[in-house]
């Protein structure tokens, strides 16, 4: 083999090794989530990054997956596309690695038995990232998780002040208007946490809902820096990423009755 070909082969091998390593979770999976199977039929083909994440979660049958997703500026409303071609009978780990190989500017980590946190590479260390805003305390008692995830500024005074700084001597009134997926009611008391940690904690708190209503589906969240019209305006939303049999998974005891 000629030296040029050897160099090319070495470079390709190195690149493959690097992209494979980059597609691994950023931190060890303490919960074994990466080994969970994806049993169902999954939508394939050209999808947006967030659609593809949802597709994989919806195709699960014996487990479920939730997400906390931070989209990079510029990735909405024109979302980056991926080719989703999951291997039959694959695992969550294989599915995510396949996706993140295609979007190496993102990374992810497992934060609970069900939840995966997704963010632009380096975002967690970015002091200007609003999700890294640290708050001394966060208390909610019996609030709809979906409302907290879509309108966190209603529950986090420091975030609200950052987004709408008060003018001395002028009253403020806040209107919150928009769709939510209410989700289970959550009670949380957290200290010295970031906005990202709060949102992830809310998502994790929805994993074992105590209620029994139609809206007690575990919630995923998504953060965007722009609106759907392209206006620069931080905004939050929820994702429904559950398989069709989610009630059996969330309330296994009740489903067997």
């Amino acid at each position: 083999m000629r030296p040029t070909n050897l160099c090319l082969l070495s470079a390709m091998t190195l690149a493959l090794a690097m992209t494979t390593a980059l597609a691994q979770p950023a931190t060890p999976d303490k919960f074994g989530l990466m080994k969970k199977p994806i049993e169902g039929l999954m939508v394939t083909g050209r999808r947006t990054f967030t659609q593809a994440l949802r597709d994989g979660a919806i195709a699960m049958r014996s487990h479920y997956l939730t997400f906390g997703i931070e989209l990079a500026d510029g990735d909405y409303p024109e979302e980056r596309m991926v080719i989703s071609s999951p291997p039959p009978g694959g695992t969550v780990g294989e599915f995510l690695q396949d996706l993140f190989r295609q979007v190496p500017t993102y990374e992810y980590e497992v934060v609970s038995e069900h939840a995966v946190s997704v963010y632009p590479r380096g975002a967690k260390e970015d002091p200007n990232d609003i999700l890294n805003l640290r708050v001394p305390r966060f208390d909610v008692d019996g609030e709809d998780a979906g409302v907290v995830l879509v309108f966190p500024q209603q529950f986090i005074a420091e975030l609200r002040a950052k987004l709408a700084p008060p003018t001395p001597g002028q009253d403020q009134l806040f209107m919150y208007i928009g769709p939510v997926s209410p989700g289970p009611k959550v009670t949380l008391h957290l200290r010295d946490v970031t906005v990202r940690e709060i949102l992830n904690a809310v998502t994790v708190a929805t994993e074992n809902p105590k209620g029994d209503g139609p809206d007690d589906a575990p919630c995923s969240w998504i953060y965007r820096t722009r609106t759907h019209t392209g206006e620069v305006k931080p905004n939050w939303g929820t994702l429904f990423s559950l398989p069709p049999n989610w009630k059996e998974l969330v309330h296994p005891a009740r489903s067997q009755q």
């Binding site: 039929l41 999954m42 939508v43 394939t44 083909g45 999808r47 947006t48 659609q51 949802r54 597709d55 919806i58 999951p86 039959p88 979906g146 409302v147 879509v150 309108f151 500024q153 209603q154 987004l163 709408a164 008060p166 003018t167 002028q170 009253d171 403020q172 009134l173 806040f174 209107m175 919150y176 208007i177 928009g178 769709p179 939510v180 997926s181 209410p182 139609p214 809206d215 589906a217 609106t227 759907h228 019209t229 905004n235 939050w236 939303g237 929820t238 994702l239 429904f240 990423s241 559950l242 989610w246």
Partner: protein
Amino acid sequence: MRNLIQLGLMIAAALLSVAPLSGQCQMIYNVSVYADASVSSDLSTIYAYSSGADNSTTCNCTHSNYQATLTVYAPNGSKVSRTQPGMQSSDSMATNDLMGTYDAVAQQALNCSCFGQVLATASVPARVSPTVTIPAGISYVLYGPDAVGYNLVQAIGTPPGGQYAWSVTPANRLSFSNGLMPGVAQLQANTPSAYQNDTVLTANYTYSGTAAVPATTSTTVTVYRYLTQGSYNPISFSPPTYGYFGNVYYSVYAQPGQLLVLASGLSVIESVSQTSSNYSGAAVTFQGNAQTNSSGNIVDYLAVKSNNPLPANLKIINDQEIFVEGLYVRDNTVTFSNSTATIGNNGPYN
């Protein structure tokens, strides 16, 4: 029990007459043979049968040594053959997935004491071709990329292992992408149906170069058109926080067919703009986005919150447009007072 496909029945008869001498018995041969063949439902086997009958007028002759022979010829020239004493025979042949026309040839032989061996022959073709069905169909196709997971349709070809190809009429109505499993198509709506069931999906299936008769199913390509609304019953915040909050539930309807959409995970976004306000301070609007909930509803959150008591005459009017999967489905005039929000529906209504 194997389900057999009746392919045909061929009857042949040998009718011969021998000119009688005056005043003598007239010798008439009347030997019939029937051939029949069928194909197993999985196309793996050809089953062939033969049956003979001798209704000859034999006069002083005798007929004996009846033998029924059945031969099945494959399209590639190979054959199986079986001879049994008597008037009936049967045989089978494995197709080994070889498509084409097989021939079952039945031959009935007998010995006549007067004239020697007599033969009667019949044959019947047995066509082995792949089949395709669409067992469940799909009654409607939902619009939008988040709905693709609901828009799955499956064709089943026999024998398995062939190639599927889908088409639609009218051609621009929707597009296909292959699903994870062979025969499963993901449908993405492009243009809505003019009326219900005006769209025909066709599944073509080819196995080993032989095409099956295509299977078809009718469907309706729908688009989200309007919402119906539940009530808004706000809950007040407790001082030192002032204002109220609550949810409004909407059902999503698609046309044609006034279909109540029960799909969760459809994208819901809103455009909200303030039309007028008599609030003297700073009125800040926060918006969010979500997807249809687990019941397929849009749940819209409306809240007003302040650290100061709301003015008694508070009146802030907003225009609210709601979109499902990017399609405009509702325009509201939302008026916030000091105790509740009222929602004026500006349509669309159907």
